[in-house]
């Protein structure tokens, strides 16, 4: 049986307390909310924190709130199931609800949180393995080693970002609020991710992702999410496409890609381009490597197909 290493659980009762603890101990601490990403990785020895900061019971970080300006605020602890079932999201921001509905399987959606899904660690065959396994292959650049087995000679890590909700939030112009003891800052998701499996994103180790803000601009827009995975449930995406546009195919199109690069990617300023051009742009942007199941060529092909289907899905869903 794979076992968790020893650690101390810290149970703050307020956000201030949590941020304070993190300010003093962020080097030795991992943040725990749903645990669906962190716990298996800890069992594999990918993280061996002294402290696990359990924020899942913190008040005020739950729920989906309609804002007076037409935007929406979503607490970081809102579960993926709640996103998928939310009437306001399904009606006004359907791309997010649809993406959420495809995450993993039902029990993982019940446990997993939006904040966790956004901050998902990047994934790779050579990384998401036990200590024994990684020692047998001489470790990798992302953990304990210096080689990237996916792209030998590369100085960066090509582990793939595999969250489903981030591309949906990106097409909606979503921003995240990052809270530390010293400050609170709001970062657009387009600036949040880094195209390197090592850095992953701009969140500082003393910060907690506390909420997600969706602006009013795309309220009521059509939205669609297409996902390629091997099985009908459980699996991470091998290619994912989020699309948002004016109802009835009226333009203002944005496309978000996931699971084909170390970060999710937004494609915008697409109006005026043909469907084929958009698909080709998406396929050029996608750089799937042998980090995951399926083949690189097929995943790139699927990005083209899924972009086309997502765009067509926009018209269909607004009928």
């Amino acid at each position: 049986m794979m076992r968790l290493p020893a650690f101390e659980v810290i149970l703050p009762s307020t956000l201030e307390e949590a941020a304070g603890f993190l300010a003093d101990h962020h080097q030795q601490t991992k943040i725990y909310a749903g645990g669906t990403d962190l716990v298996p990785s800890m069992k594999q020895g990918l993280f061996e924190p002294d402290y696990v900061l359990d924020i899942k019971s913190l008040p005020g970080l739950n729920g989906i709130t309609d804002l007076p300006d037409g935007g929406v605020r979503i607490g970081a602890l809102t579960t993926v199931s709640e996103l998928a079932a939310s009437p306001v999201l399904r009606r006004e921001f359907p791309v997010l609800a649809r993406a959420a509905a495809t995450v993993a399987g039902p029990n993982l959606r019940n446990a997993g949180t939006l904040g966790g899904n956004i901050c998902l660690d990047t994934r790779c065959y050579w990384y998401n393995q036990s200590f024994f396994w990684r020692s047998a292959c001489g470790f990798c650049i992302k953990k304990d080693g210096s080689t990237c087995h996916v792209a030998p000679g590369s100085k960066q890590c090509w582990a793939v970002y595999s969250g489903d909700t981030a591309p949906a939030l990106m097409v909606l112009g979503g921003r995240v609020k990052l809270t530390s003891r010293a400050e609170e800052r709001v970062v657009p998701l387009t600036d949040f991710f880094v195209n390197d499996g090592l850095g992953r994103n701009v969140i500082r180790p003393d910060e907690i992702l506390t909420e997600v803000l969706i602006p009013a601009a795309r309220r009521g827009y059509a939205g669609h999410y297409e996902k390629f995975r091997v099985r009908g449930s459980v699996d991470y995406p091998l290619a994912g496409v989020a699309a948002s546009g004016k109802p009835g195919g009226g333009g203002d199109l944005r496309i978000g890609l996931t699971a084909v690069n170390p970060r999710p990617v937004l494609l915008d300023r697409l109006d005026g381009l043909s469907l084929e051009d958009i698909c080709n742009q998406a396929k050029r942007t996608a750089k799937p490597l042998k980090t995951s199941a399926s083949t690189m060529e097929y995943r790139r092909h699927m990005i083209g197909v899924l972009v086309k289907r997502a765009i067509r899905g926009l018209s269909a869903s607004s009928d």
Partner: protein, 762 residues
């Protein structure tokens, strides 16, 4: 035999079902003994290397570590097959695959055992390693085992009838090559073993399908008499062949218990299950078949190479089944078989549901579809035209008794609407048919002897309850339930009066175990014989009470009555009291089963594998949709008919058919153990893609009851024969849908799309 049964043929829930669904069932990992230690296996990081140094001193000195063993402590060689004693519990001198055990540690906690594992100091001298069986055969610079030249574990060359003449008589000959990668069982329960050593007696609890072979192997390797060892099999969370041989971790756990003097438990991780493996081998199949214009097969030549991994395991049997079972479904008078079982530096392959037959069946049934289309015969009809006769002997001297295959084909054709749909579905939708079969119990034991294969004892006491003592291994397939039903039926009593104690070597008589789909047939017959003996004792007492001859009595509904006058009756309970009083107290009876000599096969080398005491048959129709833009396949519906002789319990038969179909669909569409330089790339259930409920189509099970002349109440196996057919049925349906023939598993969207694109470009 009357069909008027009271429990046989009824949809009886499994007798151990309640404890499982309530979570109260006790599996090996649930058992805790006072002072119990936790074990861990240290495994090789090298695919092929000499062990230069293996120093356990630091690990042994870690506080909380009680015992460490290495290959030097357990040098006795073993293996499930007498011809395959090539394994040691831990590697000695050299490692042959990544994940092979090199040391085992028992410590006070699992955490200490893990910490100690990191303190084992090992140095290797790497050797060239082979991961591809053809390379291993062709470039044997270094031998994986010194006594296996060319890295060939075993090859067989069989020739039946006149193959040259058969091909000369053919109007059409096809030659196709197929490939199937490795797949694994993915049983829900990872292997677990608990051992305790007290007063010179060793007790081992283990999640095994074959407690008897484990018992023998423990005695062999540990140098103890079998009488000093007790083997108990608690509930097992699925086997599928992955637990049907003695495994290194079981021996290590026992050795650690002996060395430490404390009970030791070892439950391995899911990742380690992939290193133990014993799954279906990767296999190349080259198949040449000749047919006449009217669809009769005139000759078959099958050549196959299996990647067996680093040890023999069941390999010699697997390569023989691949050839022998070609003979047992269609009437093929002329066939030649060249089979090579090859060693590689990967985890050892072993037995897996449909053992040896599945990959060849994919090839055969795919090629039959090609042939039928090329000569213009309906694929279902072509199968019927090549049917065997019941009660016949095949070209390779297998005895076929009951044979429900034609009825299986007719039933699935009718239920699926085959004739209305075949060739008439729009592009992208398809329908395909295929068949399969399996032995219903191997007629020859793994270790040849005159011993019965199954033994059962019954005890009837003053409480009016009957206890079955049986060595069979219930692994979730329902063998306990079936035996209870058989005894209840024969004694004419309710199921609630029958208890079962199974697989505890101190209490239960020997049974060979749960492999080769043998338990219902063999232990069922043993139960039936024991029950008949018990019935004669009961009826002697009843005859005494009713003042009639015992032959005139009928046992039913816990009553014993005169057949000509049902009102003249005594209750089961009063009869038991009388019987105990007049027949010396507790009533016991015994039954056994030994396969008949005429079922044991021919006299040629390798003829011992393939003979079954009977064979089960399956025909299946698959309906699929193919997304031509992505190559993605949706299996819409499977209609599966299985000939299981008489269905003793239709509920569990249907469960087996559905389980076989869904397991076969995994191999057909998504499953593959991937390796890179000997490393298992997907050693977990997230990346090893067994299908879930979202991937499972509607499965319509049809039970075909051929009523076997020798099976208990006419029953045959239900657990394995239905797996193989679904794979070619889906492949054939894909061809029907989009006109592409995929000859390599799994039938991935990548492969299908590529084939569609190539076809469009031609």
């Amino acid at each position: 035999m009357s069909d008027d049964f009271t429990t046989v043929g009824k949809r009886v829930p499994m007798v151990d079902g309640t404890q499982k669904v309530t979570g109260h069932g006790i599996y090996t990992d649930d058992i805790k003994l006072p002072g119990m230690l936790h074990a861990r296996i240290v495994r090789s990081t090298q695919p092929h290397a000499r062990i230069l140094r293996l120093d356990t001193a630091r690990a042994e000195s870690l506080p909380g570590v009680f015992a460490v063993v290495t290959g030097k402590d357990l040098t006795g060689k073993y293996g499930i097959l007498p011809v395959g004693h090539d394994e040691t519990a831990l590697a000695v001198d050299k490692v042959r695959y990544v994940g092979e055990g090199i040391a085992a540690i028992a410590a006070r906690t699992p955490e200490i055992a893990e910490e100690a594992a990191h303190l084992i100091d090992v140095a290797y001298e790497p050797l060239p390693a082979y991961f591809d069986p053809i390379k291993a055969m062709n470039q044997p610079d270094v031998l994986i085992h010194e006594d296996k030249p060319g890295n060939i574990e075993r090859d067989y060359h069989h020739d039946f009838g006149n193959v040259e003449q058969g091909f000369a008589d053919a109007d059409l000959i096809r030659d196709d090559s197929f490939f199937c990668p490795r797949v694994t069982h993915a049983a829900m329960e990872p292997h677990s073993t608990l051992a305790s050593f007290e007063g010179g007696k060793l007790t081992v609890w283990s999640s095994t399908q074959t407690p008897y072979y484990l018992h023998r192997t423990l005695a062999l390797v540990l140098g103890m008499p079998m009488s000093s060892i007790r083997v108990i099999k608690p509930l097992v969370g699925g086997g599928f062949g992955g637990k049907d041989e003695p495994l290194g971790h079981e021996i290590c756990t026992a050795a650690l218990a002996i060395k430490s003097g404390r009970p030791v438990r070892l439950t391995i991780s899911r990742e380690e299950v992939f290193y133990i493996h014993r799954g279906r081998p990767a296999q190349h199949v080259w198949l040449k078949t000749g047919v006449t214009r009217d669809g009769r097969i005139t000759a078959v030549h099958c050549k196959t190479i299996q990647d067996g991994g680093a040890y023999c395991s069941y390999g010699v049997v697997t390569i023989l089944y691949s050839g022998a079972l070609l003979g047992a479904i269609y009437d093929i008078r002329n066939f030649r078989y060249d089979g090579y079982r090859v060693l590689t530096n990967l985890p050892a392959c072993g037995a897996m549901r449909g053992h040896g037959s599945v990959n060849v069946r994919f090839a055969f049934e795919s090629q039959m579809d090609i042939l039928a289309r090329e000569i213009g015969i309906d694929p279902a009809d072509m199968r019927l035209r090549n049917a065997l006769e019941p009660n016949s002997r095949t070209a390779n001297d297998l005895r076929v008794t009951s044979y429900g295959y034609p009825e299986c084909i007719r039933k699935v054709v009718e239920r699926s609407g085959w004739n209305e749909k075949k060739g008439k579905l729009p592009y992208g939708k398809g329908i395909g048919i295929a068949g399969s079969h399996y032995v219903s119990g191997a007629a020859n034991a793994i270790i040849r002897s005159k011993m019965p294969h199954s033994n059962v004892m019954l005890k009837l006491d003053i409480d009016g309850g009957v206890t079955i003592y049986t060595g069979t291994a219930e692994i979730g397939q329902g063998s306990d339930t079936i035996q209870v039903q058989i005894v209840a039926e024969e004694l004419g009593i309710g199921l609630e009066r029958v208890r079962i104690v199974s697989a505890d070597s101190d209490l239960t008589p020997m049974d060979l175990g749960s492999y080769s789909s043998r338990v219902t047939f063999m232990a069922g017959n043993a139960c039936l014989r024991a029950a008949r003996e018990m019935k004669s004792k009961i009826n002697r007492a009843a005859a005494d009470l009713l003042k009639v001859a015992p032959e005139q009595l009928v046992n039913r509904d816990s009553r014993i009555f005169v057949s000509s006058d049902p009102q003249r009756a005594v209750t089961f309970d009063e009869t038991v009291v009388h019987a105990l009083g007049t027949q010396g107290g507790t009533l016991v009876s015994q039954g056994s089963y030994t396969p008949p000599d005429e079922a044991k096969g021919g006299k040629f080398k390798g003829s011992g594998v393939g003979p079954g005491v009977a064979y089960s048959y399956s025909a299946q129709v698959a309906e699929v949709s193919v997304d031509v833009e992505t190559g993605q396949v949706t299996v819409e519906r499977i209609v599966a008919a299985h000939d299981c002789g008489r269905a003793l319990n239709p509920l569990t038969v249907e469960g087996q058919i559905e389980g076989s179909v869904s397991m076969g669909l995994g191999q057909a569409l998504t499953e593959e153990v991937k390796y890179d330089q000997g490393l298992t790339m997907n050693p977990g259930l997230l990346e090893y893609k067994t299908g879930g409920i979202r991937d499972t189509p509607i499965i319509e099970s049809i039970i075909v009851e051929s009523v076997d002349p020798e099976g208990p109440f006419g029953a045959k196996e239900a657990g394995e024969g239905s797996l193989a057919a679904v794979i070619p049925a889906v492949a054939n349906a894909i061809y029907d849908a989009v006109g592409v023939r995929i000859k390599e598993l799994p039938l991935t969207p990548e492969r299908i799309l590529k084939a569609i694109q190539e076809k469009q470009h031609r």
